[in-house]
Amino acid sequence: MIDFLYTFSIYLHFLPILVGVYLLVFKKLNRMYIPVLLLLSISAFTDIISIWIAKKYHNNLFVFSFYALLDTSIIFYFIQQFLRQKKAKLFFLIVISAYFIFSTWSALAFGFDRYNAFQLALGALFIIGLILYFFFEIFYYETVDDLTKFPPFWIASVWLVYYSGTLFLNLLFNEVINGNLSVKIDLTNILLLIFTNIVCTLSLWMARKNPTTK
């Protein structure tokens, strides 16, 4: 059952990608949503390639390290487009730069084929912090008239749920691999992934109503 759900969740990545590409081709989607499509594409690609790598080399853990860097930076790029406070943008840029340096040092110091739970948890915390600040700006500047018609809010919300839900999964992943923890962590991740992809699809479809170019 979990295997089926896992395969389903990977292929479900293609639903928002197809919807987004379709809208982009017909110029019905604002270009500011390209990072979302890029992130979904990378996510689908890394998931598929990690299965292949795991089968061939029996270790695909280094994929996670690269993926953590990519998703953190893409999410930062997407969210910062909606931030008004320049100082906050600069702050998050400095934090993400430090995160890049730390990740590179960590990979070089401890090896690429190692699951770095701390690095992934830091990335998730950065994304959670960024999204919470984004919500704060929505409050503070009152720039959005109707949140139901503001797709970035829903995309950010679903990311918040996903990264909050997988924060402890990331931290405890080594324990699961080593068999010290008998929990079905995969199921939580899979369900959150399915939920994320469905909400992203709906949000991109919702975004088609405002096809202004950036």
């Binding site: 929505i138 409050f139 949140l147 919300s157 749920v161 839900g165 924060l167 402890f168 923890l181 939580t188």
Partner: protein, 254 residues
Amino acid sequence: MIFYFITFGMIFLSFAIIAFVFIYQRKMQNKRLELQQLKLDNQQQLTKSIIEAKEAEQRRIALELHDDVGSTLTAIKFMVAVLPEDLEAKTKLNNTLQTVIKKVRRISNELLPTVLEEFGLVTAITSLINQLNDQIEAIQFTVSIINTGSSKAQNKEIELSCYRIVQELLNNIIKYAHATSVIVNVKQTTSGLSVFIEDNGDGFTPKTHTPKAIPTLGLKNMESRVQHIGAKMHFKQLEQGTKVSLRWKPQQEI
């Protein structure tokens, strides 16, 4: 077990934050809309008060001119007629007085159109067109009336506002449009009132005009009056000239 507890706790917390942001933002938005509506209502009330005060003042001045100044001038005219002096000088004085009396009557009529008060909008517009035809030779004014009875809800306030708007529109055509022909269609039925004014001038719409070309005060006054009575006014630029439509229906009355 603790893992699930913490994970679902985090997910629940995320949902709670999202729900809080969503609900609170909606509340704020509703408050903002209420505030905007309140401002709009206040503005409308202010406009209404300004128009009413202006009309009341105009009425007062018109009555003063008609009843006091006009009567005094007429009395002087009769007194001059019986003066045993030079006949030529007397005739000159008489003519001048006659001109002044006419001017006072015209100003009084412009400030408070008695024909509107007594006979209603259709007759007042017809009278205005006739006056313009007499005064301005360069423009041919034509009026066409369809009158199947005035609406019960149609009151003097609405008639006066419509009359002022038509007056301002015609005034603008005379001043700026360089037109040679103006056609005014008035349609008054039990379900409402429509006025169409079409000219063959330069062509104009409020969106395309610049404040330098035409002063905006008249336009703003018209807009205020239209808003005040709950009517709709639409400008359409033609190949040559402009067509303005003014529509009022009783159900639109606020």
